[in-house]
């Protein structure tokens, strides 16, 4: 459902979201912030690895492989 807030890890392949917030003191979110995944940034899940983890996400024209545990530190609002 559009607008629903959920962890980035819950988005399925092809789904998009806008970053709302994150676990600021988690090292994974710290790194993502440095890479420019800020509140307000749009992020999409490109695909999920064959074994179910990690996920490939895209933001700011860059693609990143991210474990679900790390992706869970980011809260997004679903788009579409």
């Amino acid at each position: 459902m559009s607008g629903e807030i959920c962890p980035l890890a819950d988005l399925r392949a092809g789904e998009r979201g806008r970053v709302e917030d994150g676990t600021a003191d988690h090292p994974a979110f710290q790194r993502l912030l440095a890479m420019g995944l800020l509140p307000g940034t749009e992020v999409s899940v490109v695909q999920v690895a064959p074994l179910g983890d990690p996920v490939e996400v895209e933001f700011r024209g860059m693609r990143l492989s991210l474990r679900k545990a790390d992706a869970a530190t980011v809260q997004v609002a679903r788009l579409d």
Partner: protein, 717 residues
């Protein structure tokens, strides 16, 4: 500034920006690779002549931020702040920026500039950006940022001269990047922190360094600021951060928000993206290469190719080196015939030891050809993406796959290949478990034992099953070992595994060859000396003591035989029987008794610690049929079956039974009997970890052998 002094320039940048290619372009062969004190991070430096000046260039590890959560980033931060022992602050910094992703790359530049360092932006891979219709107005960007921006294509050497001029200009006029308009609360927090530090008598810090302490979770800057021992900096830090919180800023995310906001303004109109998003080659390739079925098939095929190349294709080259070493030994030997001890030292110790180093070169070169290819094309990140789930849970990560697979051929290139793993814990764990993979040097032991004891009793199918199982023993043990090492030894929480999936690129042969040469040279220089030294020590333990009385006794006893070869073999056997190593073997035999080993097997095991492949030749010498036997030798097999216990509870029974043969194989499968691997582990991690690896594998091997023998005698009789 003094014109004769060389200018110190640091090269920084995100991973995948072509930073190292640029470094190689600028410095060519005038490079030095060393280590930073206390950490296993490569220090690459070189000289660069430009505009009549000599510049000393230091290639700092790739980083996304100076928050310094990994040892690599920590080195970059310490170097830039002048806190690295023996290193001065650089005179200028070149920040390599991927022209296709300017804003994200400038985040690091902005942090570097904040430390008060003159900066030049190298807008690298601008050809790829052009192709993707991403336009960057370098002149406008330079005006807005306040620092020189130079378009470069490192792979083709474009923009090098302009870069040199820009660096000289930056040093002369100290071009600093536009500062972030810090909100009043940040300024107040920094002042508060500075005053607090001063009160504690800590070293005074620049505002940029204070901001690192304020914004980073645990900043390395604080540690180096000379904070008085015993007093806790947390209250001061918390109070400074409270100033930010009160003003509505979350302290740990404020920096990213503020810097990206400024960069957004500075790059507006200077960077433009194509309106219609085109489907890139990378996306098309990825639909196949990371597909849940095709992706795995392609990956398996690639890995098979890599494995095959090190396992089989290196063979002829290794044989050639082996042959050359033997010829060298035969050529040297007659010259030293008058001094038998010196002859043996030179022939077996020095030439043999050097041969034992060079023998690994073909595998290292071939493996690093493929690794450079996988990395430079961008495929390595895809492989890690596919495999991460399999390895992640036990403290390894997707990048552990290549080193572990390579170790099935040989752990030396395998351990060297762990360089591709950025996460230090995962890298160390991979180094520690890679030697458990069944390398090709273990094969002769399996073939000898299976051929002599399994096949005659249980047939060819059982022989095949045992051979197959032996190759899995190490892998099956490696996973719980990795898990246990992480849980009980390293005790680290799982680190985030964020891996950029860079666009696919065509690799350049020149870069690949350079990487192969770099690795090979490093192996020869750093591990080679240790390997030769160890070979000489073991040579001495087998050679000494050497009283003439032993030879005279054997010659007299066997004088009736009139067979000089048999006499020579018997003399060798007699010498080794009373060597220091054999004495140790007899003394240690009780330890190996629960595994069913007699003293001769124990000596064979001990003699194999420097290099397990010598076991067959050693057994040949010990059993008096000479050292020139191989694992399929009928003589050796029958000699083994003719060994009987001479005393103890099993007196009169054969020494070698099926359980003993299995125990020997399990011991060799699990033990780290390879001095060269230990040396490489020491160089890649440190001696402490190398010894840890050696000890845990030896204990594991002993346990495995004892368990196999005890269960084997119970079930097989």
């Amino acid at each position: 500034m003094d014109k004769s002094r060389s200018i110190r320039v640091a090269l920084v940048g995100n991973p995948n920006t072509g930073k190292t290619t640029l470094f190689n372009r600028l410095t060519g062969s005038r490079q030095k690779i060393g280590n930073y004190p206390g950490v296993t991070v490569d220090k690459k430096s070189g000289t660069w002549q430009s505009g009549g000046r000599t510049m000393t260039l230091v290639d700092l590890p790739g980083a996304y931020s100076l928050a310094a959560t990994s040892p690599d980033e920590r080195v970059a931060l310490d170097f830039l702040t002048g806190h690295l022992s023996g290193e001065e602050k650089p005179d200028a910094v070149i920040c390599v920026v991927d022209a296709s992703n300017v804003v994200r790359n400038l985040f690091l530049a902005s942090q570097v500039a904040d430390l008060g360092l003159p900066l030049v932006i190298a807008l690298n891979m601008s050809d790829a950006a052009d192709k993707a219709s991403i336009r960057v107005d370098a002149a406008l960007l330079a005006r807005r940022l306040g620092v020189p921006v130079v378009r470069t294509v490192a792979t083709r050497g474009e923009g090098i001269e302009a870069l040199g001029k820009a660096v000289l200009h930056a040093v002369e006029s100290r071009t600093l990047m536009a500062e972030v308009p810090w909100p009043e609360a940040v300024q107040r927090a920094v002042k508060y922190l500075a005053a607090g530090l001063e009160k504690e008598g800590a070293q005074s810090l620049a505002p940029g360094e204070l901001r690192r302490i304020l914004f980073d979770r645990h900043s390395a800057v604080l540690e180096r600021a000379g904070w008085p021992a015993g007093s806790d900096p947390e209250p001061l830090l918390a109070a400074s951060r409270d100033i930010l919180t009160a003003a509505g800023w979350q302290p740990l995310s404020a920096e990213a928000l503020l810097r990206y906001e400024q960069l957004g303004h500075l790059t507006a109109d200077a960077v433009s993206f194509p309106e219609k998003r085109v489907r890139t080659w990378t996306e098309r390739l990825d639909t196949v290469l990371t597909h849940r079925v095709w992706g795995l098939i392609v990956f398996a095929a690639m890995m098979f190719l890599v494995f095959q190349s090190i396992y089989a294709w290196s063979g002829p080259f290794m044989d050639a080196i082996d042959g050359a070493v033997v010829r060298m030994q035969e050529w040297v030997a007659p010259w030293l015939a008058a001094w038998p001890t010196l002859q043996s030292l030179v022939v077996d110790g020095i030439v043999g030891g050097a041969g034992g180093v060079f023998i690994f070169l073909p595998q290292i070169l071939v493996l690093f050809f493929f690794i450079a290819l996988l990395e430079d094309t961008g495929y390595m990140a895809r492989g890690a993406f596919l495999m991460d789930k399999m390895f992640g849970w036990c403290g390894l990560n997707g990048k552990s796959f290549v080193p572990m697979l390579s170790s099935y051929a040989c752990a030396i290139p395998g351990v060297l290949a762990t360089r591709t793993i950025e996460d230090p814990q995962a890298r160390l764990t991979t180094i520690l478990v890679s030697p458990l993979m069944s390398c090709s040097a273990r094969l002769p032991v399996y073939v000898l034992m299976i051929g002599a004891f399994i096949e005659p009793t249980y047939g060819a199918i059982a022989a095949g099953v045992v051979l197959f199982t032996m190759h899995f023993v190490g892998l099956v043990v490696a996973v719980p070992v990795a898990w246990a090492v992480n849980k009980f030894v390293l005790r680290t929480r799982p680190q985030p595994f964020l891996l950029e999936m860079p666009p696919y690129r065509l690799p350049r042969l020149r870069d690949i060859l350079w990487r192969m040469w770099e690795r090979a040279r490093e192996f020869l220089v750093r591990a080679g000396t240790v390997i030769v030294a160890m070979t000489i020590i073991i040579w001495a333990l087998v050679y000494f003591p050497r009283p003439d009385a032993v030879r005279e006794r054997v010659v007299e006893e066997l004088s009736v035989l009139n067979d000089p070869d048999a006499v020579d073999a018997a003399v060798s056997a007699a010498y080794i029987e009373q060597s220091y190593l054999a004495r140790a073997g007899r003394a240690l035999q009780p330890i190996f008794a629960p595994a069913g080993f007699d003293w001769k097997i124990t000596v064979g095991v001990l003699a194999s610690f420097p290099a397990r492949e010598v076991i067959v030749a050693t057994l040949g010498t010990i059993y008096g049929i000479g050292g020139e036997v191989d694992e399929s030798s009928g003589d050796l097999r029958s000699a083994l079956t003719r060994e009987f216990w001479t005393d103890g509870p099993r007196a009169g029974h054969p020494v070698f039974t099926v359980p003993v043969a299995l125990a020997i194989m399990v011991f060799f499968a699990l033990c780290l009997q390879c001095g060269a691997t230990v040396a490489v582990m020491a160089k890649e991690a440190n001696w402490g970890w190398a010894i840890f690896g050696f000890v845990y594998m030896t204990v594991l091997a002993w346990l495995g052998a004892v368990l196999t023998y005890q269960l084997g005698t119970r079930w097989l009789g």
